[in-house]
């Protein structure tokens, strides 16, 4: 009996872990897009008023940033003249391309054009954030519950 209970608990724990990982991944995506929107806004205000060098602004941003975006910002600052290559992670292929393009476009035009471009990117990232955030709210907890139930079901099936 104890063995059976242990098997069920084990299945439930592992499936819960998978559920939690999925949940965290979704949460990270939401936070990543939210940070991208914040970065676009910060760049717009810095370029409009302070006109500080790009790397200075980005480093300031990366200091307080805890998402994966801070790594991408650091890798851009290390070689700002090359197109950064984002590793496969929480972003999908199209999203990665958009972020790579975003970084590549920085600092290469006058203020008006740059602000115009940043607004467009900001809008795009805002849309990504809204849809991801909505999906997270809708499916986030349900996914976790389902994974726990799935673990239970698998355990029962095994027995």
């Amino acid at each position: 009996m104890i063995t059976k209970l242990c098997i069920i608990c084990l299945c439930m724990t592992s499936s819960s872990m998978v559920g939690l990982i999925m949940l965290k991944r979704r949460k990270n995506r939401v936070e990543y897009f939210s940070s991208l929107v914040k970065l676009s806004d910060k760049l717009i205000s810095e370029i409009s008023f302070r006109k500080e060098n790009l790397t200075v602004v980005l480093k300031e941003f990366a200091q307080d940033e805890k998402t994966e975006l801070s790594e991408h910002v650091k890798s851009f600052c290390a070689s700002p003249y090359e197109k950064i290559h984002i590793q496969k992670g929480i972003l999908k292929t199209g999203e990665r391309a958009a972020v790579e393009e975003f970084f590549f476009s920085l600092g290469a035009t006058d203020a008006d054009t740059q602000i115009f471009e940043l607004r467009n990117y900001g809008q795009k990232f805002q849309e990504m954030y809204s849809s991801e955030s909505e999906r997270f709210k809708k499916n986030g907890n349900v996914g976790l519950k389902l994974s726990v139930l799935a673990g239970l079901a698998i355990g029962i099936l095994i027995l």
């Binding site: 500080e52 790009l54 600092g107 035009t109 006058d110 203020a111 740059q114």
Partner: protein
């Protein structure tokens, strides 16, 4: 300092070739997209080759349009928006007073240059601070009281007027008698301010206003900074003439420079001729390249009488 700048902004083959040259002789590097790199070196222009300078185009280093674009982006730390005003005026200033003249396609908006795109060539000018080059001249520009006469340095381009002005600023602001010198550095040539700091020696009691028009700087400076001497480069239009006229009328001594062959030719410039007519400047220093860059070919008083200073300096 120049080596660091070259390494930072230029393609590796070009900066390696430049590092082989004598920095004291190098004064210009010209890069044109789709053409060969040339350098102003010693007594003239040469092509740049992997081994140094060359008179033949065969060994010269080639540079393409994309490299010019990259050079400009590197020169502004990939922050073109931060230096767009300078780019619209055709130049950028880097560490150590290195200046980059930029050519490209201008984008106009309401008749004004909004930005420059498709950069096609750059001319990198390497400044040479010649400490002490103004010592002999300064003696003739000084009144017995220790104050200075308002003076105009007249020279064709590339004859060393900015170098002389810089040294005069250093001398005037480090003399026994403390004089407050204000440098109005519209094009960042005299003090080469970078991130708020003068990168060239302009003396101990000098203030620098850079990157703004002479009219703005003169009006605000006379009110706020109370300078004894204002030093500025390249007077070119009637607004500049107004600014100088106001400053001198306010009792401030002005050292300025102007592009002309000799002081006699200044009256050919209609927008500036009144400065001469009204005898605003009390000393004129003619520079030429007769015996090398920075040759002082004559110093004159306000009535254009030559002042004795011996052999050309």
């Amino acid at each position: 300092m120049f080596c660091e700048v070259f390494t930072k902004i230029l393609p590796p083959d070009i900066s390696a070739a430049l590092n082989k040259l004598n920095p004291d002789k190098l004064y210009e590097v010209r890069l044109r997209g789709g053409s060969f790199v040339s350098v102003g070196y010693g007594d003239g222009y040469y092509y740049l080759s992997q081994n140094g300078t060359s008179c033949s185009i065969q060994n010269a280093i080639f540079v393409n349009e994309n490299a010019i674009q990259q050079i400009v982006l590197r020169a502004c730390d990939k922050s073109l928006y931060a230096v767009n005003d300078h780019i619209c005026r055709g130049y950028l200033t880097l560490d150590g007073g290195v200046r980059i003249g930029i050519a490209g396609t201008t984008v106009l908006e309401n008749g004004n240059v909004k930005t420059v795109k498709n950069f096609s060539s750059v001319n990198i000018r390497v400044p040479h601070q010649v400490v002490g080059c103004g010592c002999k001249v300064a003696g003739l520009l000084q009144k017995p009281s220790g104050k200075y006469y308002s003076s105009l340095i007249v020279s064709p381009p590339g004859a060393g007027k900015t170098t002389l002005l810089r040294d005069l600023a250093r001398i005037a602001s480090t003399g026994k008698r403390i004089l407050n010198v204000l440098i109005v550095d519209e094009r960042d040539e005299i003090a080469a301010v970078r991130n708020g700091k003068a990168t060239l020696d302009v003396g101990k009691n000098s203030d620098v206003i850079s990157g703004c028009t002479k009219a703005y700087a003169f009006i605000n400076a006379v009110r706020a900074l109370r300078p004894d001497i204002i030093i500025t480069d390249e007077l070119c239009d009637s607004e500049d003439a107004d600014a100088v006229e106001n400053a001198i009328a306010s009792g401030v001594c002005v050292f300025a420079s102007i592009h002309a062959d000799t002081h006699e030719r200044i009256s050919d410039k209609p927008q500036l001729s009144r400065l001469i007519k009204n005898r605003l400047f009390e000393r004129y220093v003619d520079l030429s390249c007769e015996r090398g860059i920075g040759t002082v070919s004559g110093i004159y008083d306000k009535n254009f009488n030559a002042l004795p200073f011996g052999e050309p300096l």
